[in-house]
């Protein structure tokens, strides 16, 4: 059977890996290519690059990093952040990304997802949804790193982009991101049960039990985490062993 995936995420700013606590107070966690190589050798199931460079001026640096990383890694690589046009997607795929994650551009114009899927195939189009709880059982989409509310219901939107051609949903709880309090399980489950494509749970991982909860209780197909791996708190192997002991099917390396 298919295995639950563990996906380390590298937040990349101006070509360097950083990870923030609720997007402020960034700490430098090193060279992205070196980190990617370490994760590849450690048996990470995929790798995610999130470009959080504020200006688009440094786009070339990201493409260089993607290119250098793709040269070193024999696992799938997803790249997101600031993807606005079909040309952006094409450039990232040609640089070596296997999947491209679309966030704000999909919210602004959901048809962009359809165009991208038609052009490059559904399998390489990931839609990243950043959601915040606004009331009991209701989550809204926020853009611009969680600062801009949109009034759009996260679950409806997940359904809509899936119908339009998203091949996967990367779901981040903005309430939990950087909190180490665990995934927003209710949100994860609501989205995972609503769509027919794989869902990656993101935002809030602080312990290995959180990874288990994301799959078992949140019904996610994959779990994404950043800081617990970057700062050496846990290894990929420890995470997989822990999940396996909780009867979650993982690929043991």
């Amino acid at each position: 059977m298919l295995k639950a995936r563990i996906i380390p995420c590298l937040d990349v700013k101006d070509g360097r890996v950083v990870k923030g606590i609720n997007f402020v107070g960034l700490r430098d966690a090193g060279d992205p290519v070196e980190q990617a190589r370490i994760y590849d050798q450690a048996g990470a199931d995929e790798l995610c690059f999130l470009d959080i460079t504020a200006s688009s001026d440094n786009r070339g640096i990201l493409l260089d990093v993607v290119r250098a990383t793709a040269q070193e890694c024999f696992m799938p690589l997803t790249v997101g952040g600031g993807v606005r046009t079909l040309e952006d997607i094409r450039a990232l795929l040609l640089a070596g990304a296997d999947k491209v994650s679309i966030n704000t551009a999909a919210v602004k114009d959901p048809n962009f997802v359809a165009e991208a899927a038609r052009k490059f195939g559904r399998q390489c189009i990931v839609v990243a949804i950043d959601a915040k709880q606004v009331s009991e059982g209701r989550w809204e989409i926020f853009t611009h790193g969680g600062r801009e509310p949109t009034g759009i219901d996260a679950i409806d939107f997940a359904r809509q982009v899936t119908e339009l051609g998203a091949g996967e949903i990367l779901l981040t709880s903005m309430d939990r991101d950087g909190s180490k309090a665990g995934f927003d399980i209710a949100l994860t489950r609501a989205v995972a049960d609503a769509v027919s494509v794989p869902v990656i749970a993101s935002g809030g991982v602080g312990t290995l039990d959180h990874l288990v909860e994301g799959i078992r209780d949140g019904h996610a197909d994959a779990v994404l985490a950043a800081s617990i791996f970057h700062f050496g708190e846990f290894t990929i192997e420890e995470a997989k062993t822990h999940m396996a002991s909780a009867n979650i099917r993982v690929r043991l390396f």
Binding site: M1, L2, F74, G96, D98, G121, Q123, S196, P198
Partner: protein
């Protein structure tokens, strides 16, 4: 010796090329890896790789749009019997036809149709995306020494339903028996991505580079 990876505008071929380069290095082979859109490159190739991502029909259209490619492929693969490796949609193109928005002819090298996945468990997500275990159905030199319970990376919504079960060299379980590797004579094709399957994938490519069908 030269391995030619055919470039027909279907996705990024650098990752496939670098995986073949790394596998050749691991195997201690001085294999030259070339990415080419030129049908003439096939005549001096010792091995041929056909990658592919996206829709069956788009890929077939892209491949046959290159003047002389179809003929060069038939000549090198069918008549000269050079080892051939199809990856993902490149593997699907080996089939007789693809059934995705209508019926579309493939290369017709394996008697089978590429059909949508229909897992018995309707909660299973499509695309089938991620790492799944390879079940070897028929021993083959390219599938040797992959270790116990080898896992490889899949991302697809269609697979090849083969008319002759002897052509299914390996399968995987996803709410149905999914065709993972097909082959006959000098042909082999994987539904999964060996170039994204870490050491198991590299080992499989290494096996292909050593294979003398």
């Amino acid at each position: 010796m030269t391995t030619v990876i055919i470039d027909y505008g279907s996705g990024n071929l650098r990752s496939a090329a670098k995986a073949f380069e790394r596998a050749a290095l691991n195997a201690g082979l001085s294999e030259e890896i070339i990415v080419s859109a030129d049908p003439r490159a096939l005549s001096r190739a010792s091995r041929i790789v056909l990658p592919g991502v996206g829709a069956f029909q788009d890929c077939m259209t892209g491949l046959t749009a290159i003047a002389g490619m179809r003929e060069a492929l038939d000549e090198a693969v069918l008549r000269q019997a050079k080892p051939f490796f199809g990856i993902c949609v490149g593997m699907q193109l080996m089939a007789r036809e693809g059934i995705e928005f209508g019926h579309h002819p493939g290369l017709g090298w394996i008697d089978g149709a590429v059909v949508h996945l229909e897992p018995s468990d309707k909660t299973l997500k499509i695309p089938h995306m991620g790492w799944n275990e390879l079940v070897i159905e028929k021993a083959h030199p390219v599938l040797e020494d992959l270790g116990a319970a080898p896992h490889v990376y899949f991302v697809h919504s269609y697979h090849m339903a083969c008319a002759d079960k002897a052509h299914v060299l390996a399968s995987t379980d996803y709410g149905q028996k999914v065709t993972a590797v097909v082959g006959r004579d000098n042909l082999i094709g994987t539904q999964f991505h060996p170039e994204k399957s870490q050491r198991i994938g590299l080992k499989l490519i290494e096996n292909f580079l050593r294979w003398r069908p």
